[in-house]
């Protein structure tokens, strides 16, 4: 045996690992392939009525929503990232991480809160009327929130952190001397921002923008509450109210084109992201602002946090408190849905982390020669994050129902064993969230030197034993982070849960959805508050890991 051969032998995964990884990749792609088969298999004649009645309006609404949210998140995200990176003002130390807080707010919860907050006879409009001296909503009211501009407002102020995050990371690593060079060439601070800092950040902005738009496309609650009939809402109603699976599959297919465009935007951005950070240089130092300008900037940077997090969070706290005080505690139904939510999130976390471990381990363990196939599997397995929950659910329905009826005939079981036990829902969530543990575990594995694995093998351990005794303990932080992210996202998940949940099975999210849809507003605030509190955990983790403390370097640099 040659040295090379032995080395490769050490690193190769056993066929079982590779096979499992392959099956996971196929499983992730299955719903998408099913959709194409459903949409085109029934013949194009079927598309006629859809094109005539449903698609144009829903597609137009979705396009306007995407365009509006895109502009809003770019302006807020980039603007705040630049304010915080290049300026020093009162509150900067808090705002630089607080600007991430809206990430803890699912879009449907913010829409739920603002419908009540901005109601014509609600607190905000009442206060405005009181200040202006009107006494009836007939004399003065704000434009109705239930409209496309209203939905753009709500989604934009919740989703801007995706752009803020990538833009801030980019601005922090841009070398200061580029801005200084622009200044010596006659540009003002403003001009240098628009001609140098902004163009250099473009790839990073594209990544953040595409993630925010994928969330917009995935959203069902906010659009539904605000009465905007988007493609996602159309998929839901076509299947749930009209029971037209082929029609729902066709709309879902149309959405996949948007998904492909957004994923292309994201990948393209990531490829060009190395742009400015090639050299390690002194970063831009924040400029201290004084007086009115400083307070104006503080207010401007605080506004998105107030609108996207503080106001709705305070509203939820107040409503929950009121309810608990007067309403005599929590109903049985809400307790049951909390239990369901935790059970679902636990199941999804276990399944996703296990699958993520298999995919990451198999893609790493294959030698350089086999790298392409393994990497392809890993990439395919992590595509689920981009597929909207409704689209995923429609794609999973057909294979799941076929599987269920096969199981039912084979074992003589009643009804739908997989659907009824919520297993299809767990699979759908696992597909959607698989990218998080795979990414984390791959990064963790990359930090473990190959010599450690070789030592273990030379001491007589098998591949599996090495994974169990060496890598798993070392990977514990990466796995824990991935598990936390998946757990919280599964708790918040709404669109796929709505379509795939077993009969009479409510999670906190669907409980809230039902109340908002009925307009009853009873215990929805308590459910929402529980989701937001859980959602704060990963955001705090993110704030600590990604942004870190702003490094305070001395203002003058010395000649090396």
């Amino acid at each position: 045996m040659t040295i090379n051969g032995r080395h490769e032998g050490l690193r190769a995964a056993s066929p079982a690992w590779r096979c499992a990884s392959f099956l996971i990749a196929v499983g992730v792609l299955a719903p998408v392939l099913t959709l194409a088969w459903l949409a085109f298999g029934s013949g194009l004649g079927h598309w006629g009525p859809l094109f005539a009645h449903v698609l144009p309006q829903a597609a137009l609404n979705t396009a306007m929503l995407l365009a509006g949210v895109g502009v809003l998140v770019l302006v807020i995200g980039t603007g705040c990232a630049w304010l915080v990176t290049a300026h020093d003002f009162p509150g900067r130390g808090v705002l630089h991480w607080a600007l991430l807080l809206p990430l803890a707010m699912p879009t449907y919860i913010v829409a739920f809160a603002y419908l009540d907050l901005l109601h014509p006879i609600g607190p905000v409009q009442g206060a405005i009327r009181w200040v202006l001296g009107f006494d009836s909503p007939r004399q003065f009211r704000l434009p109705d929130l239930r409209s496309i501009p209203g939905a753009i407002f709500v989604l934009g102020f919740v989703l801007y952190p995706y752009v803020y995050m990538t833009a801030r990371a980019m601005f922090m690593t841009q070398p200061a001397h580029l801005m200084e060079a622009a200044r010596t060439l006659g540009e003002s601070r403003r001009g240098a921002f628009f001609r140098v800092a902004l163009p250099l950040a473009r790839p990073a902005l594209a990544v953040g923008l595409s993630l925010a738009l994928l969330e917009t496309l995935n959203d069902i609650g906010a659009s539904e509450f605000l009465g905007v009939n988007t493609l996602t809402v159309a998929v839901y109603t076509t299947w749930i109210t009209r029971s037209d699976l082929a029609g729902a599959a066709q709309i879902a297919c149309a959405m996949l084109f948007v998904v492909v465009a957004l994923v292309w935007l994201e990948r393209n951005g990531r490829q060009h992201q190395r742009f400015g950070s090639a050299q390690r240089m002194r970063a831009v130092q924040p400029r201290r602002l004084h007086g009115g300008a400083a307070w104006a900037v503080s207010a401007a940077a605080a506004l998105p946090v107030l609108i996207g997090f503080v106001a709705p969070a305070l509203y939820l706290v107040r409503e929950s408190f009121k309810r608990l005080h007067q309403g005599g505690g929590i109903s049985q139904g809400l307790v049951a849905s909390l239990g369901n939510t935790l059970a679902l999130a636990s199941g999804v976390t276990a399944a996703t982390v296990a699958a993520g471990l298999v995919v990451a381990w198999a893609s790493r363990s294959q030698g350089a020669g086999l790298a392409n196939r393994a990497r392809w599997q890993a990439r395919a397995a992590t595509l689920g994050y981009a597929v909207p929950g409704t689209v995923l659910a429609i794609g999973l329905l057909t294979p799941a129902l076929a599987f269920d009826s096969a199981l039912a005939t084979a074992f003589g079981w009643q009804g739908l064993p997989l659907m009824g036990a919520g297993i299809v829902l767990v699979v759908a969530c696992a597909i959607r969230f698989l990218a998080m543990p795979v990414g984390g575990i791959e990064a963790g594995l990359a930090r473990i030197p190959p010599a450690i694995e070789q030592a273990s093998r030379l001491l007589g351990e098998t591949t599996g034993g090495t994974l169990r005794r060496v890598h798993l303990p070392l990977l514990r932080p990466a796995i824990a982070t991935g598990a936390l992210l998946v757990f919280v996202d599964a708790m918040k998940e709404l669109p796929a849960t709505l379509l795939l949940r077993p009969a009479n099975f409510d999670t906190l999210a669907t409980w809230l959805y039902a109340e908002a849809a009925r307009g009853t507003y009873e215990e929805g605030a308590i459910a929402a508050l529980a989701i937001v509190l859980a959602g704060l955990l990963p955001v705090l983790l993110l704030a600590r890991n990604q942004l870190g403390a702003p490094s305070v370097a001395p203002g003058l640099d010395q000649t090396p």
């Binding site: 001397h177 060079a181 006659g186």
Partner: protein
């Protein structure tokens, strides 16, 4: 359009948690129009800080900086960098990675119309011997070529004063001295007032008319550069 430069007893400091830390105190320097001066000294002697103060990136705590008849900096006044007509070549070149070489050179020429811009860019690229590299991007250029683009970019708006911060430190020894002599030729041909900062003595002698040796934030003595 080059102008004489006068630094009169300037003081420079940066803020630390324990109060201001003075780097340069009572520093004076005078340079005639078209003359090339050099600040020469070891790391941390404050020479780069002086350069950054002339460019307008650091405030002056005391004393004055004048370029021709214009007061650039004093304890009360601070003209922003973009209004100083001071060009700078950075140690790391600081070329804009998203712009081609020609666009980099044209960056400071916004006040000119398109045709005037183009002819000025062509003239500058020819001056530094890069006539046919205008369409290339910074990462496609060698270190020496990047350096020439940075020089062309700094000279293009005809600054009243050019600052060079360790301009050759990223190049190897042989290229370094050849380029230093070549850059001196270009600056002299343009009649450009300039200040060079370096810790390399050969480079100082190859470029400058006058060499001020710095120590502890002051010029301790002048060397004859005619050697």
């Amino acid at each position: 359009m080059s102008s004489p430069l006068h630094l009169d007893a300037i003081q420079l400091a940066y803020d630390t948690p324990r109060g201001p830390h003075t780097v340069v105190d009572g520093f004076s320097l005078a340079l005639d129009a078209g003359e090339i001066g050099c600040l020469f000294g070891p790391s941390g002697c404050g020479k780069t800080t002086v350069l950054r103060a002339i460019a307008g990136f650091e405030p002056v705590r005391a004393g004055t900086v004048r370029l021709g008849d214009v007061l650039l900096s004093s304890a009360q006044k601070h003209l922003p960098p973009e209004q100083r007509h001071v060009g700078m070549m950075f140690q790391e070149y600081a070329l804009f990675p998203h712009l081609s070489a020609a666009k980099n050179v044209a960056f400071g020429l916004r006040r000119l119309d398109r045709t005037a811009q183009q002819s000025r860019v062509a003239e500058m690229l020819a001056l530094v011997g890069l006539d046919d590299a205008g369409e290339r991007y910074p990462h496609e250029l060698s270190g020496g070529q990047q350096q020439r683009v940075a020089l062309a970019r700094a000279l293009a708006p005809s600054p009243a004063l050019l600052l060079l911060d360790e301009p050759f430190s990223n190049l190897d020894g042989g290229t370094r001295e050849r380029l230093a002599a070549e850059v001196r030729g270009i600056l002299k041909q343009a009649g450009q007032t300039a200040i060079l900062v370096t810790h390399n003595e050969a480079e100082a002698h190859a470029m400058a008319d006058r060499i001020g040796v710095m120590h502890g934030g002051r010029i301790t003595h002048w060397l004859d550069a005619a050697a």
